[in-house]
Symmetry: C2
Subunit: 190 residues, 2 copies
């Protein structure tokens, strides 16, 4: 049911675009745009990042492969699922399988796409690809980068749900596939 009778949603017109900052870890673009109502914004900032992946990984025993690590933006130690950047030339699923193996030592099982999401569609240009991996097994040791310090934990669905309800998992693009998995799980047990 549409409530705004005169709705006319269309894209903004891009008048010009320049890079404000280009660094290995931060690229900021500044766009001069014209809105449908002719209003112009001279410096609409867009943060460009590589696309990301994350994985809801379930062991053969039905436990979730969770992580705990420090996140400097929020300055907190929090619970997460495995996540990372897609390397150049990689398919999203390849990146997700590589990251799960590197960060947790788990691999294998049945993998399905589990939604595309965005950290911030207004001012970030990258997409996050989520995956569900069912029946993953511990097949190797963790192989972390110098900047990574990740604790790996196996948790039941109920434990993860409690963490989410207590705001101990905060990243929106991780909460989305986790809640989605809980919906499917609740439905299965109906």
């Amino acid at each position: 049911m549409h409530l705004s009778a005169d709705s006319d949603i269309s894209k903004w017109e891009l008048l010009s675009s320049k890079y404000l900052y280009r660094h290995k870890y931060l690229t900021v673009r500044s766009d001069h745009v014209r809105l449908p109502n002719k209003f112009e914004i001279e410096d609409f900032f867009v943060i460009e990042n590589p696309d990301w992946v994350n994985v809801v990984a379930i062991t053969e025993d039905g436990l979730l492969v969770m992580e705990r690590q420090y996140r400097h933006g929020l300055d907190i130690i929090e619970y997460e699922i495995c996540a990372g950047m897609i390397d150049k030339g990689e398919m999203p699923i390849e990146a997700a399988q590589r990251e799960l193996l590197e960060e947790t030592g788990y691999s294998g099982g049945q993998w399905i796409g589990y939604g595309k999401s965005s950290p911030n569609p207004s001012s970030m240009s990258n997409i996050n690809y989520s995956f569900l991996a069912k029946g993953a097994r511990l097949t190797s040791k963790q192989r972390l980068e110098q900047t990574e310090n990740i604790e790996v934990l196996l948790m039941s669905i109920d434990e993860v749900k409690q963490l989410m309800l207590q705001d101990e998992i905060t990243e929106g693009i991780m909460l989305a596939p986790l809640w989605r998995y809980i919906v499917e799980n609740e439905l299965m047990n109906k």
Copy 2:
């Protein structure tokens, strides 16, 4: 169950901090940090933003108050829930009630906190406060800002669930409270 026996997750040490860019709509901080393994990162970037709010608003008939608008970062027109920035001096719930009224004309009902989340805990410092508003009513006209062009739609839970499964709602911090509402709804109907 802990898998990493030698886990020692601690915070990074902040050695120095400077602002790379300060603008009304973009603030970038660059931190020189030392990790627990003594590895140093000289320019870890953090995007500072005001805190945000969003609202899962349910009408007295059980429909969700949804929005459709253009998002320049992803360059797409997509479905969303009501969201906005917290103004200086505002409580999160005040900001959420103000934004719902301004963007959709809906107000009232029973409001509860519905989780805190983050667009990106690694490199963004702001928090998003979600709310669930049950029994909201159309009490005024939309009052949009010059930069806003928002279509308001009422949708059933099943319609919203389909949009999420089809990746037509992308923002992670919006997907989280929407999936959470669907979990509660599925449980209620068990």
